[in-house]
Amino acid sequence: MSGSFQAELVKLVRRPAAWLLLAITLVLAVLFTYVFPYAGYAAGTAGPNTGRGLPALLPDRLVGNALGGLPVFLGAIVLILGVLVVGGEYGWGTWKTVLSQGPYRLAVYAGKLLTLAVAALVVVLAVFGVGALSSALIAAAEAQPVHWPGLGDLLIGIGAGWLIATMWAMLGVMLAVALRAVALPVGLGLVWMLAVQNLLTAIAAPLLDWVAQVQKGLPGPNAGSLAAALGASSDTPGVLSTVGGGQGALVVAAYLVAFAAAGAVLLRRRDIS
């Protein structure tokens, strides 16, 4: 198991696509959370995010700002990472190569999950890092006092971000195992996260009460509620207080476990060809 974990870690760290995804994540996070709102504020234009004004960009709002992207667009990138880590083995036909070296299937799988959990933590920490840097720069440029969030809030925020990111990664894993590929799971995962979820929230839920109820059990709205409870702005897509933060955290954790378990059952049972 530890051998499998090390092997997976090496494979991920050496994989150029993984670094590309991380870079895109950070660029998106900085652009949409800080650069565009700040540019809008500096130019004095009115827009959906400018109402928040300068205070929303300062260091004391770090936790909410860093979590805002995870329910949807940063989450989508972590989902792709999850698909890549597992689906790559199907795409390259390397399952047989790995498994004929003798490890148990579930040991390899556990190594993958652990690696993804580490990767999700790295992504979240990096998002917090660039967020801290951006907000400090803005505070300096605007000659504002710098107040950082308390350590407890910071740790809870990082933990919540990690939970949400890992949950999306596990959805990617499950889709990759179920469809035994890379392209289709990425496509379907993104359609779900970027289109279906938003359509449900924006169109179906206001019309039909039962859709609104079902929504409260879906991973996206729960992740969004968790982020909202920790200060993410509800101007960000996917961030919306449909349920309480505590329930959000529980449901997200339950999905994390369920996705991982479903992938494990499928991988164990099916033939590797």
Partner: protein, 301 residues
């Protein structure tokens, strides 16, 4: 006794298609066993079942005395149906990663790279490898654990003649060093003939013949070119019996032990027959192979 490979009643069905049927395969310690059959005969499917990648529909598998799935594939190395590696890693990195999965020491990596003659290009990305280099890396990966049982599925695919000869030498050497080798092949019967102690022929999922190469070839004989042919045939019939002499393509084919060649030559010459050529006649494995497969096909129809 812990046989390297023992399957009983091994069967795999894909829907209505029976890929492997009731296969009893036994490979003994220290031998090089050739598992032959035409494309689609079920060789790779059998191998996948041996390694636990594919679940048998029925039957059991034991490798080195242990049921598959009960433990790791300790002391077993395998190359299955063409090499597959991570394209963004170098050959060496690929092997290092696999050594971690296998729990094999990293020091094995340069060793096995040397064995397959790939040390010089080990630092290049796998994506840039030629077909033959990929194949060599596949064999290297199979050797990582210094296996007691080595299973190679068409290991010479894509190798040039010198690479093929190297592979043959490597397999012989491993066999001599006490490693049991199960070699799968759909062609290259000449190769198999040269390296294998025993062969099993599988056709449409069933084992249709098994034995040493000599066994499978069956009765051997002598082939004689002589002038005049008629006189030679007549004398030969007197010497060894009419039912053992046939005239084929302007030559005599005699169903007698090859070590009677000298005696036969003397007798023919004494009878005034000029013997131009006299040599052992062997059915080659290819011929046997076609007969076996042809027969099986006929049975099924």
């Amino acid at each position: 006794m812990n046989l390297p490979v023992q399957t009983v009643g091994l069967t795999k069905r894909y829907g209505g298609l029976t890929a492997v049927q009731d296969l009893d395969l036994t490979v003994r310690t220290g031998e090089v066993y050739g598992f032959l059959g035409p494309n689609g005969a079920g060789k790779t499917t059998t191998l996948r079942m041996l390694l636990g990648l594919v679940r048998p529909t029925a039957g059991t598998v034991r490798l080195l005395g242990r049921p598959v799935g009960a433990g790791q594939l300790a002391e077993v190395g395998a190359l299955i149906e063409g090499p597959a590696f991570y394209p963004y890693l170098s050959g060496r990195e690929n092997l290092r990663v696999l050594a971690r999965y296998a729990g094999a020491p990293a020091e094995r990596v340069p060793l096995v790279l040397d064995l397959v003659d790939l040390a010089g290009r080990a630092g290049d990305r796998y994506a840039g490898y030629s077909l033959g280099m990929k194949q060599r890396l596949g064999v290297a990966a199979a050797l990582l654990k210094d296996p007691r049982l080595l299973i190679l599925d068409e290991p010479t695919n894509g190798l040039d003649p010198s690479g093929t000869a190297d592979m043959r030498r490597l397999i012989r050497r491993l066999g001599a060093a006490g490693c049991t080798v199960l070699l799968l092949s759909s062609h290259l019967l000449g190769e198999v003939e040269q390296v294998c102690d025993r062969v099993g022929v599988v056709s449409q999922g069933r084992l249709v013949a098994e034995g040493s190469v000599a066994d499978l070839r069956g009765t051997v004989g002598l082939r004689v070119l002589a002038e005049p042919l008629d006189g030679a045939a007549e004398r030969a019939r007197e010497l060894v019996g009419a039912d053992r002499v046939r005239v084929v393509d302007g030559a005599l084919e005699l169903a007698v032990e090859p070590d009677r060649a000298a005696w036969l030559n003397t007798e023919l010459v004494r009878a005034g027959v000029a013997v131009r050529e006299l040599r052992p006649r062997e059915r080659d494995l290819e011929q046997v192979f076609f007969e076996l497969i042809g027969k099986e096909t006929a049975d099924v129809r």
